[in-house]
């Protein structure tokens, strides 16, 4: 028997085995009779030693022990212990009462002599250099269980788990495997190249350095051979594996009855293949088509990105872009066609140190995801807000904004149903920059305002255009803002409709909101957005006009 198995057996007996180790131990016990016998004998020995230790403790404290044999002798003899008196009394009770008594009696029958085992966990081996075997490298609107209790740690040792209540986190294993975990989920870290998914969903992208990366689940074991794949584990431990790219080897943990009805051993899954493995039941495995839309992926780069250069907006000063969302590029949708993420095409938009990570706008909650239309504005795709329960929005990964800004939004408003406000875009930190449409069903007119608010003290400069804004027509709503230059202009389709005085700097490093107010609970926008372009500076008038014309040309918007 190898050292690893021996170690697993001792960890199991000591009650400190992790779920992943336990699965590995079961794999061995199933096929290795020697290991099975060793486990049982060692367990039996452990119990005997524990009993002896307890006896020794009793001798020291001279604690009276229950004399079970006196109960066995029974008839006519006097039981002197409390338990004995209890039993004698109960022996004349009705059977129903006896049963009730037994529940009480055997629920804690050894409470008087219970062995208090002071088990200790063997310290996990430390890895020199870096801390832990994996660490969180990106968090997207997530809530981690340990943070509810004030424990914040982004790196993990073998045997530790991450419990994600909601949202998404990206974890990178030391060997390079990058795993996107979708809450609610529980993942245990087994080593620098393996993990145990107890429940929930994940996708994994495996670079060459991490080939052989393993994900264990309650009903299967996946071994990567250079690929990208998704795994989901339901509450019953049933597992679905979907291969997006490359090849995965899958080993099923089947019961005897299942193995008899299926092809046991390992299977190779390649591109677009999937398999559903049940933990129990007659039919253990079912081959399915891979369905990437069932998973949230953080590594998605739309394969069609920039495929048709004619569809890409001609922009100036791209190096100053903070946001550039284009509905035809980098949109990840779920199985209902709703938008999970929208990739930020602006170069250098990320404020993180890991360049490969994409900046995007996200909605991890399925019920709040906006829709998507291939033929949106001017024949180009658009993200549709308000099409479901009118509470859809997206939030960006943290963006570093500067003091000034130029923002242009290609949008179309839905007809107003009630009086209210709809925020297209909310930027900034203390000083809020809000592009909104005020909706007034009584007059049937629409006004557009670009506010900046600063609290405290509260100040607000709201620009309102005097002309109503049409629904059913796309338009380019834009603003230029600079504190130093004293610019604060609102324009629609290239024409300045209002101007005012800037209040304060927009500089911030945080998530920005598209489609509702910054608190994310009101001012939901209803309409479509095809493109958002935002610069970290106030563009010169000439360049601003150039970008506006480029957008109007692309979306076939005529000058009014």
């Amino acid at each position: 028997m190898d050292k690893e198995t021996e170690k697993l057996i001792f960890r199991a007996i000591d009650g400190v085995i992790s779920p992943g180790e336990f699965e590995r131990l079961q794999d061995v016990l199933e096929v290795n009779e020697f290991a099975r016998v060793f486990y049982l004998r060692m367990l039996s020995l452990d119990q005997s030693v524990a009993e002896l230790a307890e006896s020794a403790r009793d001798e020291i404290v001279d604690r009276p022990k229950a004399n079970w044999n006196s109960f066995a002798s029974g008839n006519g003899k006097t039981n002197t212990s409390l338990r004995g008196r209890w039993l004698s009394y109960m022996s004349i009770a009705a059977s129903a009462v006896v049963l009730t008594t037994l529940v009480f009696y055997f629920a804690r029958p050894w409470s008087g002599t219970e062995i208090v085992q002071v088990r200790e966990v063997e310290p996990a081996p430390s890895i020199p250099g870096k801390k832990g075997v994996a660490e969180v490298i990106q968090r997207i609107d997530c809530v981690l269980e340990n943070e509810k209790w004030g424990i914040v740690d982004s790196s993990f040792e073998p045997g530790q788990s991450i419990t994600l209540l909601e949202g998404v986190v990206v974890v990178e294993f030391r060997k390079g495997a990058r795993v996107t975990l979708e809450g609610p989920a529980n993942l245990e870290f087994l080593s620098d190249n393996s993990g145990f998914l107890q429940s929930g969903k994940l996708t994994a992208v495996i670079p060459d350095s991490a080939t052989g990366f393993e994900i264990l689940t309650p009903s299967s074991r996946l071994i990567d051979h250079g690929t990208e794949f998704g795994v989901s584990v339901d509450a019953n431990g049933n597992t679905e594996t979907h291969v997006f790219k490359g090849e995965v080897e899958l080993v099923s943990s089947q019961s005897k009855s299942q193995a008899a009805n299926s092809n046991p051993g390992s299977q190779r899954l390649t591109d677009a293949m999937g398999i559903r493995i049940k933990r129990e039941g007659e039919v253990a495995a079912e081959v399915i088509d891979a369905n990437p839309s069932q998973f949230i992926r953080t590594s998605v780069v739309d394969s069609r990105r920039f495929e048709n250069q004619n569809e890409v907006t001609e922009l100036v000063d791209k190096e100053h872009l903070a946001m550039w969302f284009e509905a035809g590029q980098g949109v990840q949708r779920d199985s209902s066609g709703r938008v999970i993420s929208w990739e930020n095409l602006a170069q250098g938009s990320s404020n993180r140190n890991q360049p490969p990570l994409e900046s995007s706008a996200w909605q991890v909650s399925a019920s709040r995801r906006p829709g998507w239309s291939e033929n949106g504005l001017g024949g180009f795709p658009a993200v549709q807000f308000g099409g479901y329960d009118k509470k859809e929005f997206l939030a960006t990964t943290p963006l570093r904004l500067k003091a000034d800004a130029t923002a242009l939004v290609v949008c179309q408003f839905d007809p107003v149903e009630e009086i209210g406000y709809g925020h297209l875009l909310v930027l900034g930190g203390q000083t809020k920059f809000i592009l909104e449409r005020r909706e007034n069903s009584e007059t049937g007119s629409y006004t557009l305002s670009w506010q900046n608010k600063k609290v405290p003290p509260f100040q607000m400069e709201a620009l309102e255009n005097v002309k109503s804004v049409s629904s059913h027509q796309p338009q380019v709503c834009a603003v230029r803002y600079s504190v130093d230059q004293g610019i604060f202009e609102l324009s629609v389709n290239g024409k300045v409709v209002a101007s005012g005085n800037p209040i304060g700097s927009l500089a911030v490093n945080s998530s920005q909101v598209i489609g509702c107010g910054h608190r994310r609970d009101r001012f939901f926008f209803k309409g479509q957005i095809s493109e958002i372009v935002m610069y970290n500076r106030a563009l010169e008038q000439e360049k601003f006009d150039e970008v506006t014309e480029s957008l109007m040309r692309k979306y076939k918007i005529e000058t009014q």
Binding site: G15, L45, S91, Q117
Partner: protein, 188 residues
């Protein structure tokens, strides 16, 4: 022992058999579960089920009127019930705790029952083997079961690293197991 028709006599006999064999039944159940968690629950369920079906046992036991024979029969009978109870409980627990696969439990059940039959001999052999260990080794081995004592405490006192002591402790466990098995082989 002859059958008694009265309920209280039956109950006395049942409790007597259970009291004689509770440790063995508990050990059997523990060997089918991955940890001590849930052992109490299964013991309780098993005891109740044994009582409900005690009349079946009594009918089957009619050919073995002496108590010793009845006791061994009782263990076998109770362990069969315990095995089913473990299976049933594990199915309920599968969602939130570690459970053995069913066919592993089946394999364990066969082996574990053989061990129960040797438990008294094993206990004597263990006491003998433990007495042969030097004091420090015996203390280290028993430290995990004694409140107030621990591997960490021994590490502090001796200046040795905890990890090294854990390895040493596992080595002692193997040494002890070999000694016990040698003694049992000599006895047989």
């Amino acid at each position: 022992m002859g059958k008694s028709n009265s309920q209280d006599d039956r109950y006395q006999r049942f409790v007597g058999l259970l009291a004689l064999n509770d440790q063995a039944i508990r050990r059997f159940i523990r060997s089918l579960l991955p940890s001590t968690q849930g052992v109490d629950d299964v013991v309780q369920e098993t005891a109740l089920e044994c009582w409900r079906k005690f009349s079946d046992f009594e009918l089957g036991d009619a050919d073995h009127p002496d108590q010793t024979q009845g006791s061994d029969e009782f263990i076998r009978w109770a362990c069969v019930i315990a095995r089913f109870k473990v299976m049933s409980c594990q199915r309920d627990w599968a969602r939130d705790r570690l459970v053995f696969r069913e066919h592993i439990i089946e394999q364990f059940a066969e082996d574990a029952f053989e061990q129960i039959e040797n438990r008294d001999l094993e206990r004597m052999a263990l006491e003998d083997c433990l007495s042969q260990l030097v004091v420090e080794s015996r203390r280290l081995l028993l430290s995990v079961y004694r409140p107030g004592d621990s591997v960490k405490r021994i590490a502090r006192e001796s200046g040795e690293k905890s990890r090294r002591l854990y390895r040493k402790m596992n080595g002692l466990r193997k040494q002890l197991l070999n000694c016990v098995e040698r003694r049992l082989a000599e006895e047989s």
